[in-house]
Each structure stands twice: as structure tokens, then as C-alpha cells.
């Protein structure tokens, strides 16, 4: 595999090419065409799927935590988010706290 700096350079150019195309094309096509609906669906699926992959199958330091603790963090995060009318920061904060505290709670109970 090429070194990180080379890969970064290529990745930056590839990412910017989407934005560049957007500037050039803007105004010439409708932004509610089915193609964009599809692009949006794929983009969300990849982004959230990748995040779920990190929670379920992490590499590195996060892999040293238990799956059950990560899932507890996720469950509390989503629960508080929906419970407080989709409050993002509250959900995030609660999930992070749950992840940190759940291992201790488990050792107390079991």
C-alpha cells in the first residue's frame, strides 16, 4: 500500500472533485432528481454502516472494550435522543457516559 501522505493527496483530490462537479453543474439540473435521491441513500447507508461497523467490529484500542458496553452506550444514546425529541447533544453525552460507566455497573451487579 502507498504511504499515508500519498493516499491523503489522492483522497483529497477525489473528494474535492465531487464538490467541483457540484459547482459546475449547479443550476443546470434539478436538485430533487431521482439520481440525487439515490446518491443520498447510498451516502447515508455507507456513512452510518461504517459507524455501526466501528461499534460492532472495532479495531485497535476500542476493541479492548466489551461489545456489551458499546451496545449499552448505543442503546442509551439512541434512547435519550428520541426521549428528548431528537436532542443530539443530550443523546451523545448520555451515550458516552453510559459507555464509560457500564463496565463498573456490570461488575457491581454480576
Amino acid at each position: 500500500m502507498p504511504d499515508a501522505a500519498t493516499l491523503l493527496g489522492i483522497a483529497v483530490v477525489c473528494t474535492y472533485s465531487w464538490r467541483w462537479m457540484g459547482v459546475v453543474i449547479a443550476g443546470r439540473i434539478e436538485d430533487d432528481s431521482p439520481v440525487f435521491e439515490w446518491v443520498t441513500c447510498v451516502a447515508y447507508a455507507i456513512a452510518t454502516g461504517l459507524m455501526m461497523k466501528i461499534i460492532l467490529l472495532p479495531g485497535g484500542a476500542l476493541a479492548e472494550s466489551h461489545l456489551i458496553d458499546r451496545l449499552a452506550g448505543l442503546a442509551v444514546c439512541v434512547g435519550v435522543f428520541y426521549g428528548l425529541r431528537k436532542n443530539l447533544l443530550a443523546g451523545l453525552g448520555a451515550g458516552v457516559c453510559a459507555f464509560m460507566l457500564f463496565p463498573g455497573l456490570r461488575s457491581l451487579l454480576f
Binding site: R19, G22, A45, L50, G60, A61, L89, F99, M100
Partner: protein, 241 residues
């Protein structure tokens, strides 16, 4: 958003944009980029590369895909393809942004800069701001203020997360690494569009599954498959209705 007491000058709107970034959007972005910094540290890239990703790519899905796949040691082609497709959202996002800010048809050099510093967070903010501000010049000034502050918060967050993960291994580093995934999942869950929510649910199932089949191509194929199914089902429901 209240603009009634804002002086009608570009400078005032630029500062107003910066101020609005210092609230929930900026805090969320700062947290997400701190998490990215920790993930980047864990993947073995240098701080400079991590900052280069935040400043140069400025798109969380692609940045996270980069460090995740880099850490796994997949092939260069698979990494670039995955990162590029993960960032495809920037294409429709740019197209949707331009009409809100430009004063006339046609491309100006500033548009290429605006396209780069645009992000999902900024776009959502700009749409809300445009309900209160009609002048395109003031809108653009606000956009630059908001995005400049966002980019600063993002770079600062990346550096902080990276440093904290280096200096405070263990629970702190692990927790930081969980921040970005949780943040991005909630950000997507805020959408009210059914096709998007279906993509999220399917993506959360098919991408990890794809990854267990192929570390090189699982992310890309799982994501494209999940998004396409969600899109297809949404279209069928629409045509039936």
C-alpha cells in the same frame, strides 16, 4: 435564529455566523472531530495527516473510512474507492447550496472555495438562515463566518482528540473513539425522510456484514447495496401510492 438586531453589513453577518457556530452545531462538530482525532491516532497516521484529512477532505464519512481502512491495511485502490464513494454526498450538497448563496447564474471563483468549506452541518444551518435573510451578499458573509468557525473547531477538535488519545490511553481514548460513530448515527437519525432512514437501518446491517466477508470491498459494496435497496423500495412505494 434572530437577525433583527444584526447590523446590515457583511462584517456583522460574518460575525453572526461565527457566533452561531459556537452553539450546538460547533460543539457537536468539535466532539465528532475529537473522536476522529482519536480514531486517526489509533490507526497509526501522524497528527499532520489527521489534520490534513480534516482540512483537505472536510467530510467525516470519508475521513473515518480512510483511517479505518488504513488501519486494516487494505489495498490502495480499495481505500481510495471507498473514501470517494463515502464522500459522494458532497456532490448533491454543493448543487443544493449554490442557488441559496449566489447572486446570479454562472460560476465565480469564490464558489470553488465555498464548495470546499461546505458541510452537512453548514448546509443545514444555511437553509435555516435563508428563511430569515434574503440578501445574497449577507447570506454569503454569514456562510463564510459560520464555516470558518466550523473549520477552526474541526481542526482544533482533531488535534485535541489525537493528543488526548496519545497521552491518555485506556478508557478516555476508547470513549473518544466511540463519540464519532454515535454522533454520526444520531445526525442521520434526525432526518425525517423515510428513504434516508431505511438506508440507515439497512446500512447498519449490511455494511458490518459486508466487512466480515471482505475487509477491502465490504464497506463499499454493503453501503451501495443498502442504499440502492432503500432507494428502490422508496420509489416503488411512491409509484404505488
Amino acid at each position: 435564529m434572530d437577525f433583527r438586531r444584526t447590523e446590515k453589513s457583511r462584517g456583522a453577518y460574518f460575525r453572526q455566523g461565527m457566533k452561531h457556530c459556537a452553539q450546538a452545531p460547533g460543539i457537536g462538530l468539535f466532539a465528532a472531530m475529537s473522536g476522529f482525532g482519536a480514531l486517526a491516532k489509533d490507526s497509526g497516521v501522524s497528527l499532520l495527516i489527521a489534520l490534513g484529512m480534516t482540512g483537505g477532505m472536510w467530510s467525516t464519512p470519508g475521513q473515518v473510512a480512510f483511517v479505518e481502512l488504513f488501519a486494516t491495511g487494505v489495498g490502495g485502490v480499495a481505500l481510495i474507492a471507498s473514501v470517494t464513494i463515502a464522500n459522494v454526498r458532497m456532490f448533491p450538497l454543493t448543487i443544493a447550496l449554490m442557488p441559496l448563496l449566489r447572486s446570479r447564474q454562472g460560476v465565480e471563483p469564490a464558489h470553488y472555495v465555498m464548495a470546499h468549506i461546505n458541510s452537512v452541518t453548514s448546509f443545514v444551518q444555511v437553509v435555516e438562515m435563508c428563511r430569515h435573510v434574503t440578501d445574497k451578499g449577507l447570506r454569503t458573509a454569514y456562510f463564510f463566518g459560520f464555516t470558518t468557525a466550523c473549520m477552526s473547531a474541526g481542526l482544533l477538535g482533531t488535534a485535541l482528540g489525537y493528543t488526548m488519545a496519545s497521552e491518555m490511553p485506556g478508557l478516555i481514548a476508547r470513549t473518544l473513539m466511540l463519540v464519532t460513530p454515535l454522533f454520526m448515527l444520531l445526525l442521520a437519525a434526525r432526518s425525517s425522510r423515510r428513504a434516508v432512514l431505511a438506508s440507515v437501518v439497512l446500512g447498519c446491517a449490511l455494511v458490518p456484514l459486508g466487512y466480515t466477508v471482505s475487509t477491502d470491498w465490504g464497506l463499499l459494496t454493503g453501503g451501495v447495496l443498502a442504499g440502492t435497496i432503500a432507494f428502490g423500495v422508496g420509489r416503488m412505494r411512491k409509484s404505488n401510492a
